[in-house]
Assembly symmetry: C2
Homo-oligomer: 659 residues x 2
């Protein structure tokens, strides 16, 4: 049995720090930390396995605050547990520029923040990925090295978001029994009572997707402890519906939307502290409580030492490989394998859709990198994301290297983020480029967090033909290039596809999108190059460096740029074609390099089967763009290219018009 | 009891036309039309109320093919039923450029296509909006004028998408009992068996969100008919789980993923036709079957005449108002009310956040336009989408004019599209601008369809402050401006907010985003103007037309543009500030007008608290942009603006650097 007085006092430390921090910031969300303090106290001091002295210990349990607005719950707990880089100064400067304690938890700001949350439902999606990663690595390395739980704290908002359904149905299908979700069932959202907008029977809903479910009083430490321990034994993922009172302790605001998202006010804080029996000043935690928390924080030291001993006892190869993968380093074998693959491409000069070239590159990558974990949102045969190595990962066999994510683009990318965050694996997954819209919130978070995930986005233009405008991306390249930190690649042929994949793997702190064609494309790069040409983002692919005309192209339109340059040259107008596999990489080059790419051209043309946005910087005031000005249409590919005027002829004429 | 032979033959007409059309196109999806032919035959020939001679009859039942890839199911049915603008020529030219029969159903291409589908789950979301519209208009106009059902045909893909959960939980909560969803339960997705990726108990899942459910054999016409008639009597929305065989009739491909998304092949078609007992050549339907279908198509004529009589019998005001709203015309009163509101603004010169200005405009609009239907995804107090007229629409009272959409951005916008498609109402709804990412697929479809919905997107920049980078839009203005046909407004003050709302309402064939500030903004437009200045997209707001410097600004940064222009002028450098409430509208202006906006300036600056993308066209090669280059941060608003260098000073310096 819990020493109730001690428990209450420890939980009240979270409540007090949270009230004080939100008040000092004059903004933020006190309601959740106050309501969830009992759960956090039990979870962090009695259940979870971690070590504040070794926050990156690979076999730690993961905690995801999916309801990220309740960030003070996490910050208070980390501080109390003794995470050294979460200081009282950070707590006091909650939500201030330059401090670790952002409005919502930001991955990378402080140890113990396992992911960036705030956009609702994303943490839940990440946690499914973390649990997939754990199950897969457990299958590879055994209980000795990988055996931990993923705990999630989710609110009504998380559960109401569509991504939640995609995530929980995938988790239930895969029987991810080390995933434990605590639902902060407080009946309140911003607009008021949950019942204003929702009548879902959450228990029945989770059962329908194969979850173990429980209902508890979220303020009773014994019930919380028992539920968490029972959940650990389940053969399914577990939902613990914890009935809580938002803003617990606040006499006038508890249980109402008023406690949700604004400071309680100093008067109400005084009343709340009185009600809770908390006698201390702002940001003050008495020594005995600090000791109790710090002691609880040290619980994991022993388990961590034992784990380290087991790792050290493993054979050198296993240990070395495990550590390499956890660091995210690429294996030596990859470089050699890719070099020999590129030699072969130079020889064979294959005419292939870049989605097929991507698959060939993946065959090499998956052969050399045991840590890749592929997948697709039910478009495996179209995205070409499978290779000879990718047996399916299933509930019966987690060792498979391919996740059939189902028709769940958003859940897929959010899970991929979780896999990357977990460590030890490189997730890639595919859908159609147009459906990046469906997973855009997760792509943005990958970019914001700076994590390495591979987004294989095929059918990248009107070139997909008959499926029509709903399936034809037109604005998507621009919209993705707009996301800071995201690398967007559009390779022109098999060689560029190989080079782009190499860059995507080498960029450990950036997500990458590979936009790939459905239709076949000729080999334009027919010589082996030791240097990765795509690394420059844009480079001359044909023609004289001092040419009068420069024509930029990407992906399937690079061949049109080359043809147009040749045609102009044949007509006596010196012209050059520039391939632009990645705008981001190009703009990051030196001014000198950029100048050589623009050269002395008096006329500039860009050709891409997308909208102009993003190209103006290449074209200047007089340059011309050949591309789309609106949505596509359903029809045969050549008919479409002609209809929309994306042709060699159009590029030639655009150049001449300028001269 | 059904005459089974006759039913089978009628259903086989759909199957045969679908096989033949997909084969002729050499692309497309035969599996769904063949599997769903029995359901479509019963639904269209026995159950649904419509009239091919009056396809826009407001009180018709709506049919939504949410699984849009099965488009031939719809095209065949429309042709067979006698919709005049769906010809055999269209069927023969399935998926060809210039024909109505696009790969996926495109709204506006032909009568009877109630919405554009293909991106999965969207049709389901639309249908919830259609049912909301029906319920609301029924509450206003009574059974005599508005009393119809919305039928949806959905596949596994639709149900797996997150948007499905948002949509069905909202429908269940609102007890939309005239919504009937038929789930094509064929166990197959593109990658193979559904069981590879999903184990959901769909019946339990729908029950958990308050739906009536049934399970039937989707090839038994009697079961289908009974289920649909029972569903009509339900007091909840109904899910009919119809077990079907994908590619029904194809001896070698039925029941497998092979029937899903490619032509069967001429040999297999011959075998299938033999198995089905279909003795006719490609695209041939014998006269007796055509007659049977056309006769069924005429069933609704009587009901429609009776309805027209009821409408004509109504008092002139009701009839006139009903017809006006169905046409989508604005009421006369609106113009006057807005003019008087703008006079008041010129007088009061309020310093307000544009989200608050928007609310004031909405107060006037909702007063003059009974057809507005507002809402928010649980951010009512933040989005300021409520006004004195907006009592909630609830399961107990559908007459309310405000939908608490819950934390369901995607479901909200998809439902809003459905409300607009239904006709008779103008939907608007709010969330934070950063969460346009969550509903982007639906925003894109609104633009593609060309329908009028109002997206109230507040907290439109780092100006929201402490919530931090997850909540701060940076790339979203660019990403939204990238969507063809979408109007993106960023008003600078209360007057512009009023003008932008007026334009949004007047544009009957375009969706509009209003990007609105959290923070207060001074009145910059302090004179009444009869002409809507924002209609030009960009216009001089301060300074001399021949100034040497032009500074473009939008929204909260327009004041900085004006201040910078004033400061430069004070220093003896003539400068002008241009407000850019809508880039799309500006680029659509005459070259003459555009030239006057650029004027003779030798230096150009643009200032916006977002990324540069989209501005290069304003700036040319030498112009300078003052804005964001990456993600935001958590902090106090002024600290953030200074930290990121978005200041008057920066704009002044950028101008000087060019001169």
């Amino acid at each position: 049995m819990t020493d109730r007085a001690k428990h209450d006092a420890m939980a009240n430390a979270i409540r007090a720090l949270s009230m004080d921090a939100v008040q000092a910031a004059n903004s933020g969300h006190p309601g959740l930390p106050m309501g969830g303090a009992d759960i956090a106290t039990v979870l962090f001091t009695k259940i979870m396995k971690f070590d504040p002295k070794a926050p990156h210990w690979p076999d730690r349990d993961r905690f995801v605050l999916s309801a990220g607005h309740g960030s003070m719950l996490l910050y208070s707990s980390l501080y109390l547990l003794g995470y050294e880089d979460m200081t009282l100064d950070d707590i006091k400067n909650f939500r201030q520029l330059g401090y670790k304690t952002a409005g919502h938890p930001e991955y990378g700001h402080a140890d113990g923040i396992e992911t960036t949350t705030g956009p609702l439902g994303q943490g839940l999606g990440n946690s499914v990925g973390m649990a997939i990663a754990e199950a897969h690595l457990n299958a590879e390395y055994g209980d000795d090295l990988v055996n931990h739980f993923t705990y999630v704290y989710a609110g009504d908002g998380c559960l109401m978001e569509g991504i939640a359904q995609e995530s929980i149905s995938l988790a239930g299908h895969l029987k991810l029994n080390k995933l434990i979700v605590i639902w902060d069932n407080n009946d309140i959202t911003i607009d008021g009572k949950v019942s204003m907008a929702d009548s879902t029977d959450q228990i029945a809903r989770f059962k329908a997707v194969g979850w173990n479910t429980m209902e508890i009083d979220g303020h009773d430490p014994d019930q919380i402890e028992k539920a968490l321990k029972d959940a650990q034994k389940s053969d399914k993922p577990t939902l613990i519906a914890a009935k809580t009172t938002i803003g617990f302790g606040s006499p006038n605001k508890a249980g109402t939307a008023k406690a949700h998202g604004s400071p309680l006010g100093t008067d109400e804080i005084a009343l709340a502290k009185a009600e809770l029996g908390w006698k201390y000043g702002p940001f003050e935690v008495p020594e005995d409580l600090m000791d109790a928390w710090r002691l609880a924080g040290n619980r994991g030291t022993k388990a961590r030492s034992a784990w380290t001993e087991r790792l050290n006892a493993a054979d050198a190869e296993t240990k070395g490989e495990f550590e390499r993968r956890m660091r995210g380093d690429l294996p030596e074998a990859l470089k050699t394998a890719m070099a020999s693959y590129k030699h072969k491409l130079a020889e064979e000069k294959p005419k292939l859709a870049t989605r097929a070239s991507s698959q060939k590159a993946l065959e090499v990558i998956n052969g050399a990198m045991p840590e890749t974990l592929g997948g697709s949102a039910d478009l495996t045969g179209s995205n070409n994301t499978n290779t000879s190595q990718t047996l399916p990962l299933t509930a019966n066999d987690y060792s498979g290297r391919y996740v059939h994510y189902g028709i769940r683009e958003h859940g897929m990318v959010s899970a991929m983020n979780g896999i990357a965050l977990h460590g030890g694996l490189y997730p890639y997954g595919g859908t159609f480029l147009t459906f990046t819209d469906y997973c855009r919130p997760s792509i943005r978070l990958a970019a914001l967090m700076g994590i390495r995930v591979g987004l294989v986005m095929t059918h990248d233009s009107i070139g997909l033909g008959e499926d029509g405008p709903t399936h034809q991306p037109v604005e998507h390249l621009a919209a993705l290039r707009a996301i800071p930190g995201l690398l967007v690649f559009r390779p022109a042929d098999a060689m560029e596809a190989a080079e782009c994949w190499e860059i995507a793997l080498e960029r450990f702190k950036q997500p990458s999108v590979l936009a790939l064609s459905r239709q076949n494309l000729p080999a334009l790069r027919t010589e082996y190059s030791k240097d990765n040409q795509c690394l420059r983002g844009a480079y001359s692919i044909w023609g004289d460096k001092d040419a009068d005309v420069v024509i930029f192209g990407t992906g399937s339109e690079t061949q049109l740029a080359v043809e147009a340059a040749k045609e102009l040259t044949d007509e006596g107008i010196s012209a050059r074609a520039v391939s632009v596999p990645s705008m981001e990489l190009f703009w990051a080059q030196s001014d000198d390099y950029k100048r050589t790419v623009f050269g002395k051209a008096r006329a500039r043309v860009a050709i891409e089967a997308g909208i102009e946005m993003g190209w103006s910087k290449f074209l200047g005031e007089k340059g011309r763009f050949v591309g789309m000005t609106g949505f596509g249409a359903s029809g045969e590919i050549n008919a479409l290219y002609n209809h929309f005027g994306i042709t060699t002829k159009a590029a030639v004429e655009a150049a001449k018009a300028q001269l």
